[in-house]
Point group: D2
Chain length 342, copies 4
Amino acid sequence: MTHKIAILGASGYTGAELIRIIATHPSMEIVALAANSKAGKSMAEVFPHLRHLELPDLIKIDEIDFDNVDLVFCGLPHATSQKVIKALPSNVKVVDLSADFRLRDPEEYAKWYGGQHDAVDLQGEAVYGLTEFYREEIKNARLVAGTGCNAATGQFLLRPLIAAGVIDLDQIILDLKCAVSGAGRSLKENLLHAELSEGYNAYAVGGTHRHLGEFDQEFSAIAGREVKIQFTPHLLPVNRGILATGYVQGDAQAVYDTMVAAYKDEPFIEVLPFGETPSTHHVRGSNFCHIGVTKDRIDGRVILVAALDNLTKGSSGQAVQNANLMLGEAETAGLMLAPCFP
Amino acid sequence: MTHKIAILGASGYTGAELIRIIATHPSMEIVALAANSKAGKSMAEVFPHLRHLELPDLIKIDEIDFDNVDLVFCGLPHATSQKVIKALPSNVKVVDLSADFRLRDPEEYAKWYGGQHDAVDLQGEAVYGLTEFYREEIKNARLVAGTGCNAATGQFLLRPLIAAGVIDLDQIILDLKCAVSGAGRSLKENLLHAELSEGYNAYAVGGTHRHLGEFDQEFSAIAGREVKIQFTPHLLPVNRGILATGYVQGDAQAVYDTMVAAYKDEPFIEVLPFGETPSTHHVRGSNFCHIGVTKDRIDGRVILVAALDNLTKGSSGQAVQNANLMLGEAETAGLMLAPCFP
Amino acid sequence: MTHKIAILGASGYTGAELIRIIATHPSMEIVALAANSKAGKSMAEVFPHLRHLELPDLIKIDEIDFDNVDLVFCGLPHATSQKVIKALPSNVKVVDLSADFRLRDPEEYAKWYGGQHDAVDLQGEAVYGLTEFYREEIKNARLVAGTGCNAATGQFLLRPLIAAGVIDLDQIILDLKCAVSGAGRSLKENLLHAELSEGYNAYAVGGTHRHLGEFDQEFSAIAGREVKIQFTPHLLPVNRGILATGYVQGDAQAVYDTMVAAYKDEPFIEVLPFGETPSTHHVRGSNFCHIGVTKDRIDGRVILVAALDNLTKGSSGQAVQNANLMLGEAETAGLMLAPCFP
Amino acid sequence: MTHKIAILGASGYTGAELIRIIATHPSMEIVALAANSKAGKSMAEVFPHLRHLELPDLIKIDEIDFDNVDLVFCGLPHATSQKVIKALPSNVKVVDLSADFRLRDPEEYAKWYGGQHDAVDLQGEAVYGLTEFYREEIKNARLVAGTGCNAATGQFLLRPLIAAGVIDLDQIILDLKCAVSGAGRSLKENLLHAELSEGYNAYAVGGTHRHLGEFDQEFSAIAGREVKIQFTPHLLPVNRGILATGYVQGDAQAVYDTMVAAYKDEPFIEVLPFGETPSTHHVRGSNFCHIGVTKDRIDGRVILVAALDNLTKGSSGQAVQNANLMLGEAETAGLMLAPCFP
């Protein structure tokens, strides 16, 4: 059975990545592509790398006939997404890739995103889209909120350890490095090649990055108490990839065993042999996440490293993984693409 | 029906690219991987990006049971390849990715590769692997010689025009730019990141690049007279991609019409609208080749531009395309992976 | 004696590069920096790499006291520059880095830049700023028009050969590759890191690039007849550097001897040994231009390659070189910075 | 007065960087360049970017007439350096860029570098070359041991804070990112462009990097007790630059004030306004180090960030700074080169 798919916000990088994945998906068919600012154009004009595909031209959202759509991927900007999704017919399943439904608490939303939420009911209904940890809820959800790409990476490293109680909850540091496509296709001076290439810097230092809202919500829920981590993102001069280095305190072997047990049946999460560390090179363009655990020379200190592709496992791959579950397909359908190296 | 595949020289980039493609191929199964210098290792050690696949460990070539193999991809270095292929049992089909069987004339081989050929008989038997132009011969071939990656790119631009007689055969210039993976995984100072990144240079200037042997052989055969082109390769500070800029003399509209007609039924060759030019960004990681034709401001001058991925369409993708034909499968099987952008 | 310098358009890359050079110049002092859109800011805010220098804050152009200025570098956008320079007091020397005064013929200006010139008198008076070929005129000039960076590179390759009559004037092809900083600090989608890095493409194909106006003007003047070359620029995924590959027809030895003779006393132009080719790596951040001449395998064909840094020798370094002459200083003052490799 | 300089190990990146700096140094003259493996070649062959300089050809070390040399920069590999320096005449001043004399304790040397030291006397005599903290000793030293580039960066961040007692000495984490030139010009697979570009990884995870020997020695000496930090280096896909992110516990304002006070008179160390963070872009090719201090959202947590160029301030720039002091020159002589951005 083929599912009819619409993509809203198809002119951004997550939109393009969805199409790349769906291009070889066995049971999804794209029936509508919307991008208000580029309506009327063909995808070949907006993303020439998709030129070989037979795709509908870009239209405006309100031109879509949603009676003919089974599932919508919504890659619209934050704040816009909630307005649009609220207006969709209730029979359509939705995977949102924006930040609008990640936080369940309207006050937390207001704190991190600086405004009142326009669809508080949906905010409560939405299922948090970290597949490996919300699998059953996602199968039955109508609306799934894709996670932040940094938030996904950090949670893959830390959730099992917080749940198992094997690390000190007050001494968690996450030093994360994200590729430039994580910032989207927006015209900002610091995203120009000449400003970014051949250099490196931190940003949102001091605990101001919005993905902390997700960490706070999720980690506190798991622990049953408030958990606040330190989180410092850095901007990598590469196009794809997140590497997160976590500094935690606990017994290294217990940490490793917990990690192995947590992910032993997961198709996309690979825990490396104890003491090995992953690289973003080796997950590029794929839905895999590689995790390494190393004992520090100081007893009781452990270094965790996770690598994934922010556009795939961190965003559009995760979205397809969730859509597969919502549509009753195999979770891995269309997602076993091998990483593209070199 | 599943075909049993062996890859010789599996620890190089073309080997890795073959495995990446075959990972989602519907009817190929890898039964043996050989790399003499790394025999005994797992592929996850040699190429961690292939960690998720169940693959045989690397062994030595003489450890392979060729009775259990339908087709061999041979990614060994030039000169080694001919020795190994000569010794293979005659029932095994072979796609060679080296330069050893590209030139049919032993004297031309000696001129460009500097030594006598060890398997002159096979040299005569081998079919030149430029699929779009040798399709029928490849279907019946036992041994197919994969083309040079630069040679493929230049031929996609020039073969139809030489065959149609719409350009001046004595005024053909090919200014080509190739990514660093074209040089393989060899330890050379000029391939170090610090030597290559953020810079740009020409090499093999003056007509000394070995792929000229292929151009000479093929273009002269098509034209029925000696054709010698000027060919200058440059080294791009990127990992994948070839862009070839061709300067020819003829009527631009006739050139364009010839190109469109030549490729209108080809699944992997896309001729852009007249006056548009392709980019390597938009073919990365895929088996597609994009071609543009532009009229110069000087009457009678035409600029041709072709873009493809040297590891895929220029090498391992082409190899799988040929293997599909040799094995009676659909030519596009496993090869419709969309380009990976950004 | 210290010369008082003002820079207009100081928030762009050529402005920053001027300041970088002047930072260690023995006889220039920056007394005013103007950038209308960023007036009020410090240079450390706009270009943090200049943080260690004591520099005046950015102001608006009309806030500058030009009585206190000996020489103005004008790095304003095309078309703006002519209006501003026309209004400057006549005692101030001007080096313009825009395109406004490169073309002497108002009709040619209108043809390439699409509008009427606002300062036709100055257009006639301005000296073309290719130092090595207009040295004496520049010494006495009040207004010098900096050349296009591509135009400079192509002229270093071709002027001596056209002047000496050693090449066929109707068969000149210039295949040029320019780094992204050549496009300035403007917010365009194709200049984003994610769009540009790891790829490569041609642009302005077919003879539409504005620097052709300079080539036509200069080459025709030297030859005493109309000379039109073919010129195809490409966009390199690096921040600095131009490599131009020239295809000409003539005797290779004569071409080489002409080149050596032309540049033997030039401090910034290095002609490599016959048959060697330069790389942009080796001129980065410097005012040097490296030139190579190679004989093709086809008799009578010669390949020329030039490498320079578009921001230095192609723009701001050239500007300082010209200013040195206009101010009576040693031509090389402040410009002997060694290239920054790796 | 001009000082006669010899460089041993001139064919590596630190050798090239020394020559780049000395090229515009007012009082140093290079009289000998040694590189045993490339003896007989000109520098233009080994490093074409130095082509414009009049430099002696490369010779073997034992061909140097040390009577004619005032100061030697020794850029030889670890372990080789100590043998060569031991044999130098005692009148020659030496700045060593290797690791051989960084650790004063022979046992610590054996622990981190895995062998007995060949010149234990010199090991005791050598002054640790972190100029800002050993200035007076360096002025009178005959042998100065250049620091590790990572070690320098970490110490700029942490020494003032440890000395002032404003941070918890048992909770120091240093997450450091170093450019590829830090690994030198050696032929290793992981340094190839195709392996490194467009990716990112950690290495020497768990406290095994040799520069920890320097941290242990120096921080313990300052604190008057054993101080062990956690240190995780990462490999950046850029050619130059180190960014170190430090996580410490203490009062943010006290930390900031301590940092400002420590560096207020330093010509090369710039402490940014409270809450700002530096970038490696803005120190590239220069001897500057930019430092930022930010308060975390968690009370008592502070994030420190330092950026410098590993080849300049982290190695060859530091070496010239030390040589200036040893030779009685101004400390900043030849070192005020502005960073090269973009």
